[in-house]
């Protein structure tokens, strides 16, 4: 079946280090891949997305890499800060038809803990 999953369920880093969170997906029909951050007691918050025809996209302190050959997605966080501690989910979405988008399917999540 279709799935979006993660290699590592937990990641612990020191403040100032770079973090890399990985995600594997199985459905090649996705149009967008998205990273969400979810802090305790809050809803998921959009971080960055990448279209399926791209292989890299950069934001502020974050970079998303997409390798369609091996169906792998990663999120790199530069100079990780304690405020980055959260659960990170990758997700994928496809057009439902016309200009409409339908499902957004989440991967299993990685818990990132940043130690001061």
């Amino acid at each position: 079946g279709e799935s979006v999953g993660l290699h590592l369920p937990t990641l612990s880093v020191q403040e100032g280090d770079n973090s890399i969170i990985n995600c594997a997906y199985s459905n090649s029909a996705s149009d967008y891949f998205i990273w969400y951050k979810q802090e305790s007691g809050k809803g998921p918050q959009f971080i960055i997305d990448i279209r399926s025809n791209m292989d890299k996209r950069q934001g502020q302190r974050v970079t998303v890499l997409l390798n369609k050959t091996v169906k792998h997605l990663s999120l790199q966080i530069a100079a990780t800060q304690p405020g980055d501690s959260a659960v990170y989910f990758c997700a994928e979405t496809r057009r439902a038809g016309g200009t409409s988008y339908g499902k957004l399917t989440f991967g299993q999540g990685t818990i990132l803990t940043v130690h001061p």
């Binding site: 149009d31 967008y32 891949f33 998205i34 007691g41 809050k42 809803g43 998921p44 918050q45 959009f46 997305d49 989910f89 997700a91 994928e92 979405t93 439902a96 200009t99 409409s100 988008y101 339908g102 499902k103 957004l104 399917t105 989440f106 991967g107 299993q108 999540g109």
Partner: protein
């Protein structure tokens, strides 16, 4: 702060009760979603409304009944729930014509079924 507002934040109900969860957004988004999230798990899609019409139902039991009265509001009516339905219920919205896949999520309603 999120622009998707969910009420109540916490709800405790018995298995014979009828209650509703409410969601509101004023961003002009025409697609609205209900997700269910259990502890330490990813959100799971329940329903999608597109232009106030139900477009996706992920085989959700009929004890959950969604309603979209207008383009800004989304309700989830709850009746005869089971303890295993206890979870965080997340509402989200998106502009169907947007160029990204971004969904805007509310803070969620944490439901406990006794």
């Amino acid at each position: 702060d999120t622009e998707v507002t969910q009420t109540p934040k916490h709800l405790v109900m018995g298995m014979t009760n009828k209650k509703s969860l409410k969601c509101e957004q004023h961003m002009g988004h025409r697609a609205m979603y209900w997700y269910k999230q259990k502890a330490k798990k990813p959100p799971e899609l329940m329903f999608v409304y597109s232009y106030e019409k139900l477009s996706i139902n992920e085989s959700v039991p009929s004890r959950f009944s969604p309603e979209c009265p207008n383009s800004s509001l989304l309700n989830l009516h709850l009746h005869a729930l089971q303890p295993e339905d206890s979870a965080l219920y997340l509402c989200a919205s998106r502009n169907p014509g947007s160029n990204t896949g971004e969904l805007f999520f509310g803070e969620g309603s944490r439901l406990t079924v006794l």
